[in-house]
Amino acid sequence: MSPIFYILAALTLAGGLAAVLLKHLVHCALATTVAFAGLALLFLQLDAQFAGFAQILVYIGAVAILIVFAILLTRGSELPKDGVFSRTWFVGLVIAAGVFAVLAWAVLQSVRAVPQQAAVPVVTVHDIGNALVGRYVLPLEIVALLLTAATIGAVIVAMHEKERPG
């Protein structure tokens, strides 16, 4: 394991933790962006250049901006009076810790079964494009339809309703 991996993992996890723990929603959104960027760098570290740059474009470019817009539109930048954590926070923490324990146990148990260090795969954007319009053309079309439907749906859901008569 290279030291770069440890640095990127620490960056990603610190961003995620800050996103969950910080009080101000705007700070949370910024910390989420740090976590997204760390994940994109981890993708690049895994030789998945296309996925890494798609992550940067989609998450840092679009999702983070959407989150900031939602925070500002819902006046979420004001601090709530009775704390940011729900009353049942301890139960949630126990569930999350349990899930992590199970996952980590499974990973550590299967260390010998999982594939070992492989040669660096040579995958160009050309190959990815060919796969997208060849073998994966049906999922691509479905995703296109889904994105169109989701965009229209989001606009309709968030659209300002007319005042009802009477």
Partner: protein
């Protein structure tokens, strides 16, 4: 990764993904604000993507591009989910004037 006895790089990535998933799950379960719950869900989706990419990288047939494609489609679906989710949050805020999940209890039995 000698700290906890893990020797393969794949296990390191899987552990990071598991930890990020747990952090996202904790965020979704613990916070009161609906937007923070959505952020937690995004973190969980991202952790799953990291798993997919790591398995693609260290799997036996990376040239088949399966894991990479799955991750790319998952990113697209996550973008759609974020758009619809945040639209719902804005709509709920317009109706109830709050994004605190404890106070949105109109459908509570």
């Amino acid at each position: 990764m000698t700290i906890i006895g893990v020797t393969t790089p794949l296990a390191g990535y899987l552990l990071v993904a598991a930890l990020l998933f747990a952090i996202g799950l904790a965020g979704a379960l613990v916070r009161r604000n609906a937007i923070l719950v959505l952020i937690g869900i995004e973190l969980m989706l991202n952790a799953a993507n990291l798993n997919l990419i790591a398995f693609w990288r260290f799997g036996p047939h990376p040239e088949a591009l399966t894991g990479m494609m799955f991750a790319i489609f998952s990113i697209a679906v996550a973008a759609a989910e974020a758009a619809v989710g945040l639209g719902l949050v804005i709509s709920i805020h317009r109706h109830t004037n709050t994004t605190e999940l404890d106070k949105i209890n109109r459908m509570k039995g």
